[in-house]
Amino acid sequence: MNALHVKMRRMFRRLLVPFLFAASCLVPAPPASTAFEPLPADHAQAVASYTLRAQLDASQHIVRGTGTLHWTNTSPVEIRELWVHLYLNAFKNQQSVFLREPVSFRSDVTPGDRGHITVTKFAVSGSTHNLWEHAELRRPNDEDETDVRVPLPQSVRPGDSLDLEMAWESKLPSVVARTGYAGSFHMVGQWFPKLARLEPDGHWAHFPFHKLAEFYADYGNYDVTLDVPEGFVVGATGVLVDSSRSAGRQQLRYVQGDVHDFAWTAWDRFLTTTETIHGVAVTVLHPSGTGFLVARELRALRFALPYFSSLFGPYPYATLTVVHPPVGAQEAGGMEYPTLITTGTSWYESWVTRNVEHVTVHELGHQWFYGIVGSDETRWPVLDEGITEYATQRALRSWLGPSSALSVGAFRVDLSSVEAGWSHRLVHDQPVGQPAHAFDSSAALSALVYGRTAVVLETLARVYGEELFDRVLGGFARAQRFRHPCLEDLFQAVGRGLGVRAERVLRTALMEKGWVDYVATSLSTGGPKDGWVLLNRRGTLSFPVDIELRYADGSREERVWDGELESTRLATRPSLVAVVIDPHEKVLLDADRTNNHVTHLGWGGGAPRTLERALYWAALLVQAVTP
């Protein structure tokens, strides 16, 4: 390669890169929909942009990185310090916040092989002064090194930018909590010095890496060149724009705009399956023998990608990489990064559950609620995990019908039913809308943030109408596209769309452990006179609720009780014999459905079907154990 060639190539790259950033953000044609306002922003404001180069030592599981960070002070105040997250230091020693927090997370949170990140250079471009020498790695009496304060020699005025040069070395842990290695498989997430997000009021949203929490950062453009051994298959955030090979290694360059993180994976045994779905180049990286799981993942994406694009605004990126981790690396599964998600379900489990579809659709949903709507995952996990789980159950029900969780013979169980039952159990323990690290356990976080939020939103959708609710939540997603909303923004969006009462319900449900239980207390048939039914509402939430009235002549009547008061005596026609509250199962939040009915003596239906089925299956069971 001669000098002219190199010069021309550099020039070509200079011209090409901006074009590719724009191309990587190409918006596929959205489905025809006139229900929403035009998108307020097609691109994010590039606040923190990284140009990185990373070399993977696959045998030592070390990533050596260099690069630059271009950051702009978007706040109205002068900034005198930076906060940098070194998430991998969560696995450095037992004194990290992550490892010393006494809560469980997934299966195993203590990696067999430790991981850490060591920054060797952090300097303003053009300066030889290494700012890292003055960095405050720890707080007093705290050994955690995931949240670092870096004083600046000169303050950065509002609107001014800063270019920083970085060099670091990341030792990956054995796979744990979304990142690490297993054999030659490498899932490389949270691997570089990551600038915290500067909030509009000029304070840094920084935090140590908590076990139950995730991440938060500003949007920017990422230009990352990965140097890995030849033979490794790589998947990464963004579009592959250049690749070359030399001396037994390969260099792959990925670019992506409008994102707030960059993750990648490398394994020498990945198989690749590609497909264009809804204008997006989807690449599935998977181990051998998982073809049928990949087929199911692709089927899920074929439905969910256009579905979410229609509901929440178009998927704005040209690529999506789906990583199916190999056996032994399941801890890397079920995670979202910009344009890259990880799935994973065991081979045998996939035969009886819809987990593979659930995980795939959930992680895809995060492309909107986390990726495109860039909320603070640590402070308001409701906004990413909660809304995503709602979106997931909604998508799965739209796709698979009422058997979105399980379908065995006559048993068809919807995911929302499972989440309703699951989340009821912990609703009085802790509020839903609190920071992730405030939860007592991952079980509480899962039941409340994922399950309860999904059930609250599903109840609002059913009570106020799915079409209207779609417009509200879709409007929220579009209005907050490439922004950083807080929980208050969601409340206000619901208030604007559904009214003050719905907003109050949502606040109470998420912030005050709100609950509700409708009770059909008693009825009077009335005889020749008018009848009545006494209805009660327990708890702190209230919804309008359907009331079904049944009369002795077989006729039925449906009314709506506004549910504002704690009780009401509803006057009815004569010969009232039965009353059912919420017959169409709209109020999933109802804490006890077994008290939703009341009948006049002799008008109950008994339990004949249960007895018949139970007798049959018990007899078969007896046959199985009878000698």
């Binding site: 919807d414 699951w422 059912v580 109950g604 339990a607 154990v625």
Partner: protein, 294 residues
Amino acid sequence: MKEDNGFALVAIRAMRARRCYWAIGVVWLWEVLLGLVIAWPVAAIVRVLYGGHPDGDGPLWNAGGLPLVDLLLRQGPAAAGVQATLAVVLTIASIGGLVPLGMLLVSLAYGTRDGTLLLRVALGRSLDFFSSLAVLLVLVSLLEALFLFAAVGGGIWLVGALIRSAGEPWAYGLGAVFLGTAACLVAVAGVVHDLGRAAAVCFRVGAIAALRIGLEAFRQSRGTALWSWAWRSGAGLVPIAVGAGVCEHLGGQGGTALLVVAAIHQLAVLIRVALRASWLSRALRMVSALGARP
């Protein structure tokens, strides 16, 4: 083998299930009664919670499963009671079941001069064989448990050893082959067990001698024995599948539909008892054909 009261082994060709329909009915009744002991508390719980609903327990069967999941998750203590009942009943079924089994074998193998055999007589005679059948049950169950334990342990080891190098489908596939092979061995043990039971009833011998005769009968015609057992076992799945399909279509919340569903379900249970009786009669004929005496 003849006795003064005329109670004697029937001719080999007469050892047929169709000759003993009433004994088949008694076994079916036994299974249904035990089933009822399990099912009644379940239905009682549901009746308390949903019996007053105008549609009864109908909402529990609605697509989507919201009331069903709600009920299952909030009935933890009650479920513990049902589980305890289940454990007791299944224990009774596995040990006490030797009595109706013995009665069925006696009915298949024996008759009186006038060709009739009273239920009371068959039941009484079955108690004579209870100890032999019980010892056989313990011995063969231990053997089967050993097979299964080794198979499950070996399968888990095999999967663990292969899963990273060979991948999940191959590892689990080989594990399944391993487990399937062990299941076949358990099935063979079960066939020999039934032949031993037949020998114990035919020749009134102890468990060890009966097992020896059962093994000999199996050795002499293993293909016939396995096929005779296998096709009846396979056929026993058909009424379950047909019943499931029909019942899913009918639903059967009440009235005629519920009666039809119940009839189909109980017919399925009865057919399975009849197929079991048919296999046991085949086992009796195979053992009797040996013409052996201990």
